[in-house]
């Protein structure tokens, strides 16, 4: 049980930092709303005619996923910033706990950030573009799990490199393609169960892989 207690302590530390400094989440919220507004103007002229035919939902759902993935990327780039700036990662690695607890705690914090992001992004999307159905919400939650698991690990890799902000999207986007496939499928398909199951599979596979390999990313 000490493992879970450590994880909870680490996640609480990140949330408290964010509550006090407020330097990541407000930026993410503003970014996702701005992105959605940009999409409105990026849609070709005549999108309103398409809207009249009711086909807009299908095209617009893709935009939602693009906005979510890129905003998550924005948050992930800052995920290890407090540790890096304070030089605290070495301390955490030396702490008498399993190193995967560091990953799990950070992932839990990122997951909560992503849920807060969705609480703004989904209503904004419904307001601007198209109504959001239940399977989209389920897809977003499942995708959040995958994004926080993979993203936290990749952000730790990127933090070790010289070009951190530059390299994280390159590492993350190829791995995020299956998430987008699953998410968009869950949003627009007539039978979303298959896509939700796929998202669950993705989360499971990569969560186990990240859990097992995080130790090697932070230690020498």
């Amino acid at each position: 049980m000490t493992f879970l207690a450590d994880v909870a302590t680490l996640a609480r530390k990140d949330l408290r930092l964010e509550l006090r400094a407020r330097d990541t989440l407000p930026a993410m919220l503003l970014f996702v709303v701005s992105t959605l507004v940009v999409f409105r103007f990026a849609l070709p002229e005549g999108a309103d005619d398409v809207a009249a035919q009711g086909a807009d939902d299908v095209a617009a759902q893709g935009l939602l996923w693009v906005a979510l993935v890129f905003t998550a990327l924005l948050g992930l780039a800052r995920a290890w910033a407090p540790e890096r700036e304070g030089g605290a990662l070495e301390g955490l690695v030396l702490a008498p706990t399993d190193r995967s607890a560091i990953w799990l705690g950070k992932s839990a914090a990122v997951f909560i950030f992503l849920c807060a992001l969705d609480a703004v992004a989904l209503p904004a999307f419904a307001l601007f573009f198209a109504p959001v159905n239940l399977s989209t919400v389920a897809g977003v939650l499942l995708a959040n799990l995958g994004i926080c698991a993979i993203g936290t690990l990749l952000a730790a890799m990127a933090a070790a490199s010289r070009t951190r902000e530059l390299i994280l999207p390159l590492l993350f986007l190829p791995l995020a393609i299956p998430l987008v496939v699953g998410g968009v499928g869950a949003s627009v398909s007539a039978e979303p169960a298959r896509f939700l199951a796929f998202l669950g599979l993705y989360d499971g596979v990569f969560a186990i892989l990240c859990w097992a390999s995080f130790e090697y990313v932070v230690s020498e």
């Binding site: 890799m157 010289r162 070009t163 390159l170 590492l171 993705y202 892989l209």
Partner: protein, 235 residues
């Protein structure tokens, strides 16, 4: 410098032999493809690229798998040499992956009249993998050399091998399947000569990949030995 490290730096290495063997096999495969294998009834001459496209793709998978295997060994046994071996395998895999994209694109143009088709699942998968492994090099070259870089590269290479089936499933889910399936559960849908030619081509490409792998490994090791010598002389 001891004799063993001299050996490892190239003297008495099997690379020349491998190179001769690989080029001989590729020559035989070329001869078989163009002079022995019958022309495809449907697609005519353009089908011949199949004998290179598919073996190159399979070889690329094998290289990625080999790189991931060496990465696993590195994390497990912590021996430095696995880092270079994993890197070289991934490097060869990326080269063969790029060749797969090129040959697949040419085949798509000849058969369907388009250079790129999103309905080509295998081709899309290779594009995703190509992007993924290109990022591997960006990551590797932006981290200071040392055990940390070796570990991070290894973990990333392992992710690649998990990404292959997951992406494949994703792309299948995203698209309807219209790729011509040459291999089915009933066995290959080819005549005996065609199948034989395909097998020879596959062996030839694999031998070529292995020869290139050993050659690059040799070059990289010579490089690092030379650097060590230079440092030893200057100090």
């Amino acid at each position: 410098m001891s004799t063993s490290s001299l050996n490892r730096s190239g003297f008495g290495s099997p690379v020349p032999l491998l190179a001769v063997l690989a080029s001989g096999l590729v020559g035989i495969a070329l001869a078989l493809v163009f002079f022995v294998a019958p022309e495809d009834a449907d697609q005519g001459l353009s089908q011949k690229i199949f004998y290179f496209h598919v073996p190159i793709a399979l070889t690329a998978y094998a290289c990625f798998g080999w790189g991931a295997f060496k990465a696993l060994l590195l994390l497990w046994r912590k021996e430095e040499r696995y880092d270079l071996e994993s890197y070289v395998a991934v490097h060869q895999g990326t080269i063969f992956g790029a060749l797969t994209l090129a040959t697949g694109s040419i085949w798509a143009k000849a058969s369907w009249g388009h250079w790129w088709l999103w309905s080509e699942n295998q081709l899309v998968l290779f594009l995703v993998l190509f992007l993924f492994y290109s990022a591997y090099f960006m990551l590797r070259f932006s981290i200071e050399e040392g055990p940390r870089r070796a570990n991070i590269s290894a973990v990333y290479a392992l992710f690649g091998i998990a990404l292959v089936p997951v992406s494949f499933l994703a792309i299948r889910l995203a698209e309807n399947v219209i790729h011509p399936t040459v291999f089915t559960r009933e066995g290959p849908q080819m005549t005996g000569t065609m199948f034989f030619t395909f097998c020879v081509a596959w062996v030839a490409i694999s031998a070529l990949a292995y020869a290139l792998y050993r050659l690059e490994l040799l070059g990289k090791r010579l490089d690092s030995n030379l650097r060590e010598l230079r440092e030893a002389l200057s100090s």
